[in-house]
């Protein structure tokens, strides 16, 4: 699977540390096949989101099979929508829990699944119970 191009994942958070930590976790579970790119924090490392940071992460994650984007809260979603409105349909913002969705999407992407299937796997975690 190492040379196969797979769907990329971008994690948009108000916190740089949160995005990086989740990217680390998702990468460890999913393995080296998938690019999980963090896009956390505003300019100068402040709490917030940055369209430039998100756009750069999408570019790094794109390997030709599309990119699934997850956002943590509120305005992170707006930032992603703003960045992606001029991109084509290969970037998919999904409505999913940040942690669970990221893990599910990363594993499905690493398994070589198509963009629709990776996005669905993330959104199917909405009903996941922990107990």
């Amino acid at each position: 699977m190492g040379v196969t191009k797979v769907v990329g994942i971008v994690l948009v958070s108000h916190s740089r540390d949160l995005a990086r930590g989740l990217a680390d976790l998702a990468s460890q579970v999913a393995g080296p096949e998938v690019r999980v790119e963090p896009a956390g924090g505003g300019p100068d490392g402040t709490l917030g989101t940055s369209g430039v940071t998100v756009g750069d992460a999408i570019a790094r994650a794109e390997a030709g099979q599309g990119v699934v984007v997850l956002a943590d809260l509120g305005s992170a979603v707006l930032t992603v929508k703003h960045v992606t409105e001029n991109l084509n349909g290969s970037v998919r913002l999904v409505d999913a829990p940040f942690v669970e969705g990221a893990i599910a999407a990363a594993v499905m992407a690493a398994a070589g699944q198509a963009l629709d299937d990776v996005a669905r796997a993330a959104e199917e975690t909405r009903g996941a119970c922990k107990l």
Binding site: M1, Q28, A30, G31, E100, A104, V107, M108, A111
Partner: protein, 83 residues
Amino acid sequence: MQIALPAKIALHARPAGQFVKTASQFQAQVRISVDGKAVDAKSILAVLALGAQGGTVLTLSAEGDDAQAALTALAACVSGLVE
């Protein structure tokens, strides 16, 4: 089919990812059960939630055209899991 996890390998994090990635290569519906609790082997969250510890006996079942191939691949995957 029943197969035991390697003694020191819990089905968490990377091993769970390896297992789910393998199951996802097949069209067959694949289930994994531990202590009578059966879940979709292609769902990482469900597999993680099983909390299977090293040495646990897993029961695998599959339905579909490539079910046998899926079980064979999963048995090899489980036997070869490393941290």
